[in-house]
Symmetry: C2
Subunit: 218 residues, 2 copies
């Protein structure tokens, strides 16, 4: 429905949804933007603006109906259908992500790990995710209709692996390797750079200005 929704709004929608799940579990029926705002230390108008991108989701004088808004947000975020995920790189990080509860989430299913080391291929992660040879990525991607690739390989091979993932027709990528990665314009790339995060903390320590509640970034 909306023309353009900013990345920041998108990220907040996830947070709202998580909160609504908790509220529903607590038996809360409706919630106002004001109450929601307090939980995240955000401005209430911002929450209303975020939601208003997707139609009139609230009820004036009442607030938002928890169950309805939750359902609608799941739909907006594409969580009403399952998305299949593969992880590239069966190293420490790849394994950890494969078994990470936060990743074995509602709408997501981790289908496979990929690596190029022969002795790893054929094995499984602790939670049972099978490890394939990276050469088979194209086949698996089609057979299992993989939607998302998670890149957890060393920096040196990152771009090569990303190219293979793009080649396999996967249109969404979560990248954990450092350095600049290039993808075609029709592929969505989201990068998490742990070095940048650490160095940002180092910077703030060096200038002695703790500044609370760093904004969540996703």
């Amino acid at each position: 429905m909306p023309e353009q929704v900013s990345e920041q709004t998108t990220n907040r929608l996830s947070l709202y949804l998580r909160c609504l799940n908790e509220l529903e579990a607590s038996g809360v029926r409706t919630v106002s933007s004001k109450v929601l705002a307090a939980k995240f230390e955000l401005n209430a108008a911002l929450i209303r603006k975020d939601l208003s991108h997707f139609g009139d989701l609230g009820v004036r004088g009442v607030g938002y109906v928890v169950r309805d808004l939750k359902q609608r947000l799941r739909q907006i975020l594409g969580l009403d259908q399952q998305l299949n995920v593969v992880i590239l790189g069966a190293g420490n990080l790849g394994f950890a992500l494969a078994d990470y509860p936060g990743f074995r989430q509602d709408g997501f299913r981790i289908v496979a790990l990929f690596d190029n080391l022969c002795d790893k291929v054929g094995g499984r992660s602790r939670s049972g995710v099978p490890i394939y040879d990276i050469c088979d990525l194209g086949t698996v991607a089609k057979d299992e209709s993989i939607a998302i690739g998670v890149v957890a390989v060393p920096a040196a091979s990152a771009q090569v692996v990303v190219n293979a993932v793009v080649e396999a027709g996967i249109k969404a990528l979560l990248n954990f390797s450092p350095g600049a990665i290039r993808v075609p314009p029709d592929v969505k790339l989201k990068s998490v750079d742990l070095t940048v995060s650490l160095e940002s903390l180092s910077f703030h320590l060096a200038r002695g200005d703790g500044s609370g509640s760093g904004k969540k970034v996703g």
Copy 2:
């Protein structure tokens, strides 16, 4: 020197530094904002603005002297002195981070893992990081002058663990658990929310608008 430097500028400084390291290794002596900008698909003026916060670091008509700028950025980011890091939570993620090369970086040293499960305490990670009981956090933090805590515990115990870390006098926190975490204003918190990242990708897939080169976020 500067009054205020935005988080976004700070994050980019890390990227510039990484690039300068590569340039120096390649024997490049000077680099212009234009060349740097091309590597990151950024505007050259933005890079000059970022750097100009810290004095006149460039030479007009020439560009930036790679070795000098690298040195200066290391200083600005506080990487000229070692920072000791502890990881809270010796689960899959904690172990992976303890052994992750990107974390065993220049200025950082991972001193310890902490957990509350008796059978883990006393052991070591693959790379040799010792595991202590979380009760000993205060002591270790003081003895080893820990600067940064990395929180990799389940969501349910996140706030409790964060409180313990703050109590131990640690002023910088990298948090991997989902949900809203509160810290005092003098503590710097940076959160990486993997669920939000995944759901953001899901959102973009659902509306079918791949939009290349997602900005690196740290």
